[in-house]
Point group: C2
Chain length 301, copies 2
Amino acid sequence: MLLAVTILGNNSAIPAHGRHPTAQVITTTDELLLFDCGEGTQIQILNYRIKRSRINHIFISHLHGDHYFGLIGLLNSFALLSRIQPLHIYGPAALKEILHLQFKHSDTRLPFELTFHPIEKDGLILDAKHYTVECFSTRHRIECKGFLVREKKNLRKILAEEVRKYNIPPSFFPQLQKGEDFTDANGVVIKNERLTTENRKPKSYAFAADTVYDVRLAEIVREVDLLYHEATYPDALSEKATERYHSTTKQAASIALQGSVNRLLIGHFSAKFENLEPFVTEAREVFTNTDLAQEGVTYLL
Amino acid sequence: MLLAVTILGNNSAIPAHGRHPTAQVITTTDELLLFDCGEGTQIQILNYRIKRSRINHIFISHLHGDHYFGLIGLLNSFALLSRIQPLHIYGPAALKEILHLQFKHSDTRLPFELTFHPIEKDGLILDAKHYTVECFSTRHRIECKGFLVREKKNLRKILAEEVRKYNIPPSFFPQLQKGEDFTDANGVVIKNERLTTENRKPKSYAFAADTVYDVRLAEIVREVDLLYHEATYPDALSEKATERYHSTTKQAASIALQGSVNRLLIGHFSAKFENLEPFVTEAREVFTNTDLAQEGVTYLL
């Protein structure tokens, strides 16, 4: 499965220095997902030529404005563009009330089916054909969830020579790919391991939303291919970070290190800082494979 | 008094072609006013270096998203920037409910005093030192108000030679400027008209918000220096305009002509049209002194 993350906003609460509030598009083979939707996300979607009609699932981490103020505008545009494709939103229960109040007073009737899935507890929230999305609690000033996309286990690879040798009928190949053993006409069992090999490891992406340094997260994101962890402040401001339920560069990198993830993206930068080079330099001191989450850039997993 | 209008958004509902939803900053000598606040207004405020801390009054015409979805983000940023200056919002009563619901769920406590003035009827809504703001109903799909800023009557100009001739004490000059007659020690009255002349005519700006063609508006905006009237569609689409409670280029120009205004700005352009030159060409056929409301441009009255 194709899995990629496009950053639409890498800034924290106040837009500044041409940077935007949080929003990320997750590209899968079949459809697009949107993680958070800060103000102006629909304009960023236009800027970066994202096919907005392919967004079928929107996940909102929490109700601080820089993570959802752009949602109502995006939905409104979907309505004006006569979208018919159903849309699913996953987020805090109060979000539904906020959206409906605004639809009511603008006399908006959506031409598409909108299903709101209030997030009530951690765990699986979307089981799609090729991937799943789970959510996990972070520690923030208000209730906040991170999201974890996992590619589903890949089918096993058939060994062409072996299936010929054992004369396995092609009609049984789908079962082989799923790991079943083959039993021939004489009742002889040929073990699946003889006929197939393990396919590549399923890919996974964790979006850790807004959070104070929380060592628990290292376990939750263990061995993901890509972790996005906020790094609102440089390491010198760790006290301020804690006070505001945010993290520093080195704290983000420390979670990546302890979780043995493959690669780290840092984002949600404080508007106070224009130059972000020191952020990535600091983080790399702890975890080498770190990059700045750059707006308009797609990170392929 | 200084009076100027800066356009931050000239597009209708869906952002397109680099154009933004409705927002206008009105500059007066003492402070700034904001008329409507579509999504991304706070970013436009940054782009055009508007001093956001000087905005003391915000007026929202109606609850279609392209006229107010940026308000909550702007207020949120004011809070994060530790604004202390009081702020006044004038708009439909339901707007207060929408804002408060979002403040509640983001656990936002404003560090400044926010006074919400629900607009209940047409007429005077703000009586400031140097100007007034009135509102008037337009005809739109939902309840909608236009706004009219009028400079207060200018003080009369003192005629230096005449006051010397009649030996008027300077302490009486303020009364002269207000139009009072002077009575000397012998009880002789010197008429004000002998000592002063009329100052220049007070300036006025009308923002006609969203509206279907409504000839009533010509009376309401009569003889303003500058009229902003929406022209969502070219004249060929007048049927569509009527059906959607919007106006065309020539309808906007016709209101300007019938109202004998000095100058017309047209805006709120449909996202379907990238090239706006035909819009202004059509409007000028009816009312010569017409311009496109251009984003980032300040129109001095």
